[in-house]
């Protein structure tokens, strides 16, 4: 004969299931709650010759109606199937768990608290005055360690006592005058009704605006007059924010209960994270610190990625190319195939693949910064400055994403909530140096600025940001006037970057780079190769080939920028489908023409460019028309061919202007 039912309720991870297992041992069974897939655990235990039924309710932080678990727990408690509730409270998260307790008391239930995991709390120097706590709450509080069975007998004894003889305690919560007035008002028009739940709780829920309960009341058997009153109340007070006041009062109560009943070590007032933030997010030091960090990143990228590893990979690609060419000759492959494989694939696609170490190191370091929590600070410190340029700091998040690839950078602009910010962010994102531009910078730096790789790389990235911000200012003063909206940024605590996250971030970018090299770049290089060897009657790769003639036609555009050769012009246009193809095309067109040994492309560039024209060419590639994928994304996001064409043309014009300015001013100053 079962004596009664006890329900276990508590927050997730409060040790509720351990307590259930300790109470019931092997005497339990698992089913489902009716109509849902949530697991229902039931069991029984014997105490002093009587058998008690135990139900383990789903773990929940509150008893609203906002999740399936909350609804199941709430409905079961209100069904009064359980004669007593054991509220399992995690001693390590006392105040948070107590929020649920306040709701149980409001429901007018018989409650006993199992203050669980007190052993762990004591290890953290958290101690409880059980007697004072019990007195403040008006219910029994029993310290337990469910995993060891500590305190279980006492808990059962108290629960059984409350079940048999205990009374429902007086609800300790009193709200402010306005809320209490409304509760009384609702109680007044519901007091004559047959309610399924306690009157005050129902009235409180109506005032709180609990839609699930209001709907169930409107569908119940209560009088039409009461239903009308409920509807009117909900309508008149929908914007009164009573829910906020009610929840706030519950939290205040938990805080007051904890005060004087719980002793814990003083919380460290200023953490290491705070000390770091004091400098890192400082109004004056923040941006210089960001610049210094990025400088170190680019310096390491170049030193490790290019100087230490780049040469080895380049040598590997060249050796493989030589071996492939000898093999194809040995098996008497047709001349066109040998030319295609050696000049097209190896010198074209291979020239791109050589820069995998640079990409790897850069994204390894950026991943490290992201996972440490620093990048969120970077976006925060840029907010003020961005605002001065007519944007909001979240645009900087899009810009950071754009450092990987401009496509997601532009797509992330859709989260900006006004059109002005969205459009400006979209139009300036292509000035961010994406991963595809890195091989172009790297090869030119290796050829002309090997001693200053880090500073040149850093300057290019910053020039991109600077031009983006200047254009943002111009657009916000002309095309897109209006205020930028404000947003709130979450700064996560600093943490040691996880190897898994950092390596995954790096691999995702390297994989993307390799995939593009094997698909888009390969296709572009193949097309360029075909145009470079046709017609068959002329010297392949010469100015008389189809490609040579196209290049000769467009090359004059770049004469004032210092690189008027047809190969350089063609390479820029080959970069429109994918920027990596600039390097691939240069690698193929210069292949074997000027170089005896060593890094072929680097040596070829040294014979075709000067330091000044190399700089001008790098700035052109940094700023000019973005790749086809970016243009496609702009079309999709703006739904306008007009803006897409505008972006393609204005970025080209900006790139050209800066390239010309660098070359002309540099020449005037005597640089070569």
């Amino acid at each position: 004969m079962r004596k009664g039912t006890i329900a276990l309720v508590g927050n997730p991870n409060s040790g509720k299931t351990s307590l259930f297992n300790a109470l019931t041992g092997a005497n339990h069974y698992v089913g489902n709650w009716p109509g849902v897939t949530v697991e229902k655990k039931e069991g029984f235990f014997e105490f002093e010759g009587e058998e008690y039924h135990v139900v383990d309710l789903p773990g929940t932080y509150s008893l609203g109606a906002f999740s399936e678990d909350e609804v199941i727990a709430r409905n079961f408690i209100l069904s009064e199937e359980a004669e007593v509730i054991i509220d399992v409270v995690d001693a390590n998260n006392f105040e948070r768990n107590l929020y649920l307790t306040t709701q149980l008391l409001e429901m007018g239930q018989k409650v006993v608290i199992a203050l669980n995991m007190v052993d762990e709390a004591e290890k953290k120097d958290i101690f409880f005055d059980i007697e004072a706590l019990s007195k403040k709450l008006g219910i029994s509080v029993v310290p337990t360690v469910a995993t060891r069975g500590t305190g279980l007998e006492d808990l059962i004894r108290r629960a059984v006592f409350v079940l048999n003889e205990g009374e429902v305690v007086k609800n300790p919560l009193r709200y402010d005058e306005v809320i209490e007035h409304h509760i009384e008002h609702v109680e007044e028009f519901l007091k004559e009704e047959e309610l399924p739940f306690p009157l005050r709780w129902v009235a409180l829920k109506v005032v709180e605006g609990d839609q699930a309960l209001i709907e169930s009341l409107l569908e119940s058997e209560i009088s039409e007059q009461a239903k009308t009153e409920i509807r009117n109340f909900a309508r008149y007070h929908s914007s009164d924010n009573f829910e906020l006041e009610i929840i706030d009062t519950r939290y205040r109560l938990t805080h007051e209960i904890a005060k004087g009943t719980v002793s814990r070590p003083e919380v460290q007032k200023v953490t290491l994270s705070d000390k770091i933030d004091k400098f890192v997010t400082n109004k004056f030091f923040g941006i210089p610190i960001f610049a210094a960090i990025m400088f170190v990143v680019f310096q390491l990228t170049f030193v490790i990625g290019e100087d230490l590893l780049g040469g080895a990979v380049a040598s590997l690609v060249e050796h493989f190319g030589g071996w492939l060419e000898r093999f194809l000759t040995l098996v008497s492959a047709p001349a066109w195939l040998i030319s295609f494989m050696a000049d097209g694939v190896i010198n074209g696609v291979g020239a791109v693949v050589e820069f995998v170490p640079v990409i790897t190191v850069l994204y390894l370091l950026l991943g490290f910064l992201e996972d440490s929590g620093y990048m969120a600070r970077a976006a925060y410190i840029w907010d003020d400055l961005m605002r001065k340029f007519g944007l909001q700091g979240k645009a900087f998040v899009s810009m950071i994403i754009g450092f990987g690839c401009n496509v997601p950078g532009i797509m992330s602009a859709r989260t900006l909530d006004n059109k002005k910010d969205r459009m400006i962010t979209t139009l300036i994102n292509p000035f961010m140096s994406c991963g595809a531009k890195l091989p172009i910078y790297s090869v030119f730096i290796a050829a002309f600025f090997p001693e200053h790789g880090g500073i040149v790389l850093f300057s290019l990235y910053f020039l991109g940001i600077l031009i983006a911000m200047l254009m943002a200012k111009l657009f916000s003063k002309t095309l897109f006037k209006g205020e930028s909206s404000y947003f709130i940024m979450e700064l996560p605590p600093y943490r040691t970057p996880g190897a898994k996250n950092v390596l995954r971030n790096m691999w995702d970018n390297v994989y993307g780079f390799l995939k593009r090299a094997g698909t888009t770049v390969f296709a572009v290089v193949t097309l360029v190769w075909v145009l470079a060897v046709l017609p068959g009657s002329v010297e392949p790769y010469s100015q008389h080939s189809i490609l040579g003639q196209i290049g000769t036609f467009i090359a004059p555009i770049f004469r004032y920028a210092g690189f008027g050769g047809w190969q350089e012009a063609v390479a820029l246009f080959a970069g429109l489908p994918a920027k990596e193809a600039v390097v691939g095309t240069l690698g193929m067109l210069y292949a074997g023409q000027y170089v005896e040994e060593g890094s072929m492309l680097v040596n070829a560039l040294q014979q075709n460019f000067t330091s000044l024209t190399a700089l001008s060419y790098m700035v052109m590639t940094l700023l000019y028309t973005p790749c086809a994928a970016v243009l496609g994304t702009v079309k999709k996001e703006t739904n306008s061919f007009g803006w897409t064409i505008f972006l393609a043309l204005y970025t080209f014009a900006i790139g050209w202007l800066f390239a010309v300015a660098i070359f002309q001013i540099g020449s005037l100053l005597g640089f070569s």
Binding site: I401, S412, R414, T415, P493, K515
Partner: protein
């Protein structure tokens, strides 16, 4: 507590849990709960900053790096602004 959290967020224009926790003398977990409650009640709107390319760019080589969220951002909703203005 919820009102205080909302006011601090509005004042600082950022969410730094440790700072809110210290200022209000409450546990970090309670700050978390408070923010979740404010979001649920519609005083704060949670935003997505990671680009959503799943449908449009299933063949994009950068799809994996596209969907990450570098920074978590929020907005105070009109309901939140109205509430703060009343106080």
């Amino acid at each position: 507590m919820l009102k205080d959290i909302l006011m601090i967020i509005e004042r600082d224009r950022m969410i730094l849990r440790s700072q809110i926790s210290r200022e209000l003398n409450i546990a970090d977990t309670l700050v978390d709960d408070g923010i979740q409650q404010l979001i649920r009640m519609g005083f704060i709107l949670e935003e997505e900053t990671g680009a959503d390319c799943v449908v449009a760019c299933s063949n994009c080589p950068f799809i994996k790096s596209c969907q990450k969220e570098i920074v978590k951002t929020y907005q105070i909703s009109q309901k939140g602004k109205d509430y703060l203005a009343q106080r």
